[in-house]
Symmetry: C2
Amino acid sequence: MNEFEIIDHYFKNSTPHRSDVKLGIGDDGAIVRPPKNQWLVVATDTLVSGVHFFPHAPAKAIGHKALAVNLSDLAAMGADPAWATMSLTIPNINESWLNEFSEGFSALAKQYHVNLVGGDLTRGPLSITVHVIGFIPKNGILRRDRAQIGDDIFVSGTLGDAGAALQNIHHAPDFLLQRLNYPSPQIALGKNLRKIAHAVIDISDGLIADLGHILRQSKVGATIEIDQLPLSEALKSLSPTLDATELALTAGDDYELCFTVPPQNTTNKILKKFHCTRIGRIEQQSGLRLKKKDKTPYQLKNKTGFQHFI
Amino acid sequence: MNEFEIIDHYFKNSTPHRSDVKLGIGDDGAIVRPPKNQWLVVATDTLVSGVHFFPHAPAKAIGHKALAVNLSDLAAMGADPAWATMSLTIPNINESWLNEFSEGFSALAKQYHVNLVGGDLTRGPLSITVHVIGFIPKNGILRRDRAQIGDDIFVSGTLGDAGAALQNIHHAPDFLLQRLNYPSPQIALGKNLRKIAHAVIDISDGLIADLGHILRQSKVGATIEIDQLPLSEALKSLSPTLDATELALTAGDDYELCFTVPPQNTTNKILKKFHCTRIGRIEQQSGLRLKKKDKTPYQLKNKTGFQHFI
């Protein structure tokens, strides 16, 4: 198969066809019809073999995750996903790998009605860059830099699961491996937060690192009550072999949302419906404080959040 | 510098700010306002070190080219460039490299009023994926699959220059190196072709390969008159050391446009203004024929066009 045959076979009709796509894969560019009276959110993320995933990770999981991490960015903006492009760089042609990879990507695309409209296939060290475009109403913008003093801090789902799987990739319980390999972008929650939250971010680099972006960009501080951190039963069952609290605070790859909510909205039923947990409060004093149940400070043991270059 | 400082320093305000950008670099996604009554064209291309450029190519040229090859795709769609995102994967932090790379990217972005609105910075083998979005009027769509029997085939500029530089990277004349390192996307020509051309493609993989896409997708054939191929003086001066005709037919990286024009439009002054040359004709008989001045067939010596996987 040459590159054009691969694109035709594995990608051209692998995702839902949307009626707002006027010309999809197969030309120099794709043509799409933007919605009236809405704005567009664009986001892009790259996964590099050996950096973002193990070289021998299941191809289906890589395909899923390449799209999921991007949809997670749209979720954090409260956007409705619409179109995607993918640049796939592979060292050689492995048809069974391509088949599984495409399956993982397509299944998630179907779930969120995302149309893959274009891309690029090149030879080189394995890496995948996906670019997504979604829609938001003009009055529904969610940003990182809008946290206000007195807001409560919430997170969705449970934290540290993916990090626990990473630390013990060969013997992790299935639930944790699933969390690492097949993260669920919080699209529905993101859209519901448009009218509830002040500031939103997705947790890709770890709670402390990502909440840190909210704090710095909003010019506020916060206290986290570490006993409130939502932990899965699977993660707790590995304690004390693994330090669940540390993982919940610092491990990346969970792709849950972290967001701040003004006091009048903290009883909104959406928060319960989407299994969101209050973990702390936005404060005037800059910096991030970690507090135990007995009000004494919690001392962080690890570095805070994944960074590509330090 | 960590990844966020690099993004702030080298990329955040490196390109023109457009008023249709509501939120640029620094959040989970960027927010842009789509134009009314126009459609969007999206395109993406990846450059991998050692595949698309020499590892020691000037960083400024790499930055220029990463955007140029994408703008060239928009040119082939007749689109007006607007927004870009960039995923940059680098093995380590080299500030002078980043500075030059950013300069090359920014200079071209300024020229076409392109706003870099987001991206991703990761550690890994050097590669760059750029994604661009442009606008087209609803009635001005240019596609590959609309060539009609009797159309004349044109190309812009001169062919084979980048290929000649690649074959002789250390001793190529400056003009040819400039053509290889700093290709000019044919945006203005593309927009003018909306009302003149039937089918358009950009020449990235070589004339024969790229015209081949037009022929297959339009279900037609063609004859090229090889003596009509536009050759630069610099390329001709290297003959017979280099086979200029072969390069013009098969070498990639020129980023000129190849397009077909119905007979009634072949005298349009736009074609002369943009230095376009008639090189052949679309025919009913499928396949591509190469003909010499004396009407005898020209026999191709090399393989036809760059393919990543054969």
